[in-house]
């Protein structure tokens, strides 16, 4: 039997489907809420309209949590482990780079934490494969 069958493939298909719905909801709410938010007369109306895309973000969170709870114990263990290592690694490089910024290195946006964490997770999976951890 190939990779495309079995319970893991069903979990993955479900995850991709739910993730797709959440992303679609996010894009839809951005398209529907952002243009009127810029035109709204009061700050409270603008804030209310900008809350719209948050529905998509919350949906994404729910999808990720559902997936982590759906998968089996070994996969959950692997996901949590790689997340913990990536968080620790990101903590180290952000703290270290803070010192570099003090001596004149360019200030970088806090948004770089996300690609940094993703890269750390990839690196960790590579290390695990290489050293069979």
């Amino acid at each position: 039997m190939g990779e495309g069958r079995g319970i893991q493939a069903r979990w993955n298909r479900r995850y991709v489907l739910e993730y797709g719905v959440a992303v679609a909801l996010y894009v839809l709410t951005v398209l529907l809420c952002l243009p009127p938010a810029f035109k709204a007369s009061t700050l409270s109306r603008r804030a209310l309209l900008l809350m719209g895309p948050c529905a998509g973000i919350v949906a994404l969170l729910v999808v990720v949590v559902r997936h982590v709870l759906r998968i089996d114990e070994f996969l959950r263990h692997s996901v949590i482990e790689s997340f913990a290592v990536a968080a620790a690694f990101t903590g180290v490089w952000t703290l270290a780079y803070g010192f570099f910024e003090l001596v004149g290195f360019p200030r970088i946006s806090v948004w770089w934490i996300w690609p940094g964490m993703a890269l750390s997770m990839l690196l960790w999976s590579g290390v695990k494969r290489l050293w069979r951890l």
Binding site: G6, Q8, I71, E73, F74
Partner: protein, 81 residues
């Protein structure tokens, strides 16, 4: 911890995916269990034992326990003739 999962799965003629489906776990999990990279939780160990119709201790053996039993065997006083 050592286990006989691969031997038992092959004896049943199941693939890793088929065994995973019977236990509600992924092929990756079966591979990790068989290669000894991952020790299952108690509920999963009991589910595996139920599926193969064997007691847990006949499928999973503790490394330290097995080594202890071997050394006990070596050191045990011999029965007189």
């Amino acid at each position: 911890m050592n286990n006989r999962m691969e031997e038992l799965r092959i004896a049943k003629g199941w693939t890793k995916v088929e065994l995973g489906d019977r236990l509600n776990v992924s092929r990756q999990t079966i591979h990790a269990l068989e290669s000894g990279r991952y020790d299952p939780s108690l509920p999963l160990a009991f589910a595996i034992a139920r599926l193969f119709g064997l007691p847990v201790e006949e499928i999973f053996q503790d490394d330290a326990g097995a080594a202890g039993k071997r050394s006990e065997g070596r050191n045990a006083p011999r029965k007189g003739r």
